[in-house]
């Protein structure tokens, strides 16, 4: 079973849910942190690292001796990553998606590709839970190549939990792609509702079943509840607003470890999800 934990808005408790869920599951679990811009799963689970692997994308390098300065490469590039001047070709690596198109169109075979490191993937274990997380190099704009590498580690023999990045654009879509179910973590506030709605739009387009976990229950308003009722979206768990949980989180302690009854609740949650799938 592949479960993704997502939310449009940041700071709603995705990582908290993902980690506590992983700690509660009975079968073998793998947790993939796809929030490669700000990965936090390892901050809570503190895995013993067994492997670190750099992530590269392939960017073009122009051999000026062979280049005829025809400008075809720059004309072809959809990402404006190449500027062809009359006597020189300039590559902007930050804009390059690594599609290889410039090399394909170059009539003089003047383009070779070289690897550029954009981040790394780290793998480790924490009390039997396999943790894989990606780290986007600071200053690198594109998280998707790192997300893609993290997902290559996906082990279908295990129950897989994917901690997705916030937002509703590309990085989210790539992270949850292929999941059996998405757990949407939302706070019932106007911000939470607004971002939940747009995330629901994406998941409906992707045809992935989903349910909502309401976090910080007790603060805010009824907006998320009314919306879920209207849209026939199941609310699969509620986590109360509690200073105790917030303080535990601030110290990096997953709350199922100290608050009684929560492991059982997360286990029930997985059972309910299995029924939906």
């Amino acid at each position: 079973m592949i479960l993704s934990v997502a939310s449009g808005k940041g700071g709603t408790g995705k990582t908290t849910v993902a980690v506590n869920l992983a700690l509660s599951m009975e079968r073998k679990v793998q947790i993939l942190d796809c929030d490669v811009e700000e990965p936090n799963v390892h901050v809570l689970l503190k895995p013993k690292v067994t492997e670190r692997k750099p992530v590269y994308i392939r960017i073009p390098k122009v051999n000026e001796d062979l280049c005829s300065h025809c400008g075809e490469c720059a004309k072809f590039c959809q990402f404006n990553a190449i500027l062809a001047l009359p006597t020189e070709v300039i590559v902007f690596p930050e804009l390059c998606h690594g599609c290889g198109g410039c090399k394909v169109v170059c009539p003089s075979n003047a383009i070779v590709e070289e690897d550029k490191e954009v981040g790394e993937v780290v793998r480790g274990f924490s009390d039997g839970i396999e943790v894989v997380y990606g780290i986007l190099k600071i200053g690198e704009p594109m998280p998707v190549p790192v997300i893609r590498e993290v997902k290559r580690y996906l082990d279908k023999e295990k129950d897989v939990i994917i901690d997705a990045p916030p937002g509703t654009s590309c990085p989210l879509v790539h992270s949850v792609y292929g999941s059996d179910f998405v757990i949407l973590v939302a706070e019932s506030t106007p911000f939470g509702l607004h971002d939940l709605r747009i995330t629901v739009d994406v998941l409906r387009q992707m045809k992935i079943p989903f349910g909502v976990v309401v976090n910080f229950k007790g603060v805010g308003d009824e907006g998320v509840y009314e919306y879920c009722k209207r849209e026939d979206i199941p609310i699969i768990l509620e986590i109360p607003f509690s200073r105790e949980i917030a303080e535990l989180y601030s110290r990096g302690i997953p709350f199922v470890e100290t608050l009684e009854g929560w492991k059982a609740r997360f286990r029930e949650l997985t059972k309910r999800i299995e029924e939906y799938i």
């Binding site: 449009g8 808005k9 940041g10 700071g11 709603t12 990582t15 811009e37 700000e38 936090n40 901050v43 809570l44 392939r58 072809f76 959809q78 998606h97 690594g98 599609c99 290889g100 198109g101 394909v104 986007l136 600071i138 200053g139 690198e140 704009p141 594109m142 998280p143 916030p166 937002g167 509703t168 654009s169 590309c170 990085p171 989210l172 879509v173 790539h174 792609y177 506030t189 106007p190 911000f191 607004h194 971002d195 747009i198 995330t199 739009d201 994406v202 387009q205 992707m206 910080f216 603060v219 805010g220 308003d221 607003f241 200073r243 917030a246 303080e247 989180y249 601030s250 110290r251 990096g252």
Partner: protein, 291 residues
């Protein structure tokens, strides 16, 4: 005179960027504000903009295979570096619109199609102008739309003789964040005293340093974990970064959000509002602007 620019960012989401930005705008009044979170934008829920102009945004193209022309040779699938072609169909979710498949297709069965991927808005609020945008769900957030929002704001500021642009940044450190901070005079990083908050703060500060932008730090919910707050202060001091304010952990912030108002208007006498007013004065001083 060119307007000064400050961007509020955080690395970690949900730490209070938008809460702070809305209050800064409410205190400043004569400024242009942008919401650079074009993906899950929230600032409009507090500032209640009235849209005066809406433009379509064309972002990423997508490849499309015309089934009637396709000879099923499979060359496109081999050439695609994004695994976006399966069973002679393009998966629009995985396609990055590079056009390699269209170029190599011997049957000329593939085209790149342009679609509206979002909208760009210029609005009026009771505080002045607001520039914002909405990316369609699932689209590529390349920073292009953020650049357009910011250009829009710069034009408006110049035209109307306004000397400050406040940018509400998105979470993370990738493309849209880079687009939100390039060329600004100041980055205000909001953090919280949690281990993840500290982890993400460090990455956000490294990003600002990478682009040569001066940072100032605010700690939200500082009393949630005083030891971690102390750690943040020590870290900042050691790195020559000023912590310009600490905000209490108080559900009143959520209440003001439910009321749809910046906290400094919802409850001006609350300690939270007073801390924010202090932060605002420090930012204005840093930018050499009158309060």
């Amino acid at each position: 005179m060119k307007a000064k620019q400050v961007t509020v960012l955080s690395g970690k989401g949900g730490v209070g960027k938008t809460t702070l930005t809305a209050s800064l705008v409410s205190l400043t009044r004569s400024c242009v504000v942008t919401d650079c979170d074009v993906d899950a934008s929230n600032l409009h829920l507090l500032l209640k903009p009235e849209v005066i102009d809406k433009k379509e945004f064309y972002g990423q193209k997508k490849a499309k295979i015309e089934a009637s022309k396709c000879i099923e040779c499979g060359l496109c699938r081999e050439a695609c570096r994004f695994d976006a072609i399966r069973n002679f169909e393009v998966d629009p979710i995985l396609c990055e619109g590079c056009g390699v498949c269209a170029y190599i297709c011997p049957a000329e069965a593939i085209n790149l199609e342009e679609e509206v991927s979002g909208y760009l808005y210029t609005s009026r609020t009771k505080y002045g102008f607001m520039c914002h945008a909405q990316l369609k769900p699932g689209e590529e957030n390349s920073g292009k739309l953020v650049n357009l929002v910011r250009k829009n704001a710069e034009t408006l500021a110049e035209k109307n003789g306004l000397n400050l642009i406040i940018n509400d940044g998105p979470p993370g450190i990738g493309c849209p964040v880079i687009a939100s901070v390039t060329g600004v005079d100041l980055g205000v990083v909001v953090t919280e005293p949690t281990l993840s908050g500290i982890h993400d703060l460090k990455r956000a500060l490294t990003l600002l340093n990478h682009f040569g932008i001066k940072p100032l730090v605010c700690i939200n919910k500082y009393d949630l974990n005083l030891k971690n707050t102390e750690r943040i202060c020590t870290f900042c001091k050691a790195n020559g970064i000023e912590v310009i304010g600490k905000i209490k952990f108080d559900p009143i912030i959520t209440q003001s959000m439910v009321a749809g108002k910046p906290i400094v208007e919802y409850s001006p006498d609350n300690p939270v509002s007073k801390s924010i007013a202090e932060i605002w004065r420090r930012i204005m001083k840093e930018l050499d602007l009158d309060v």
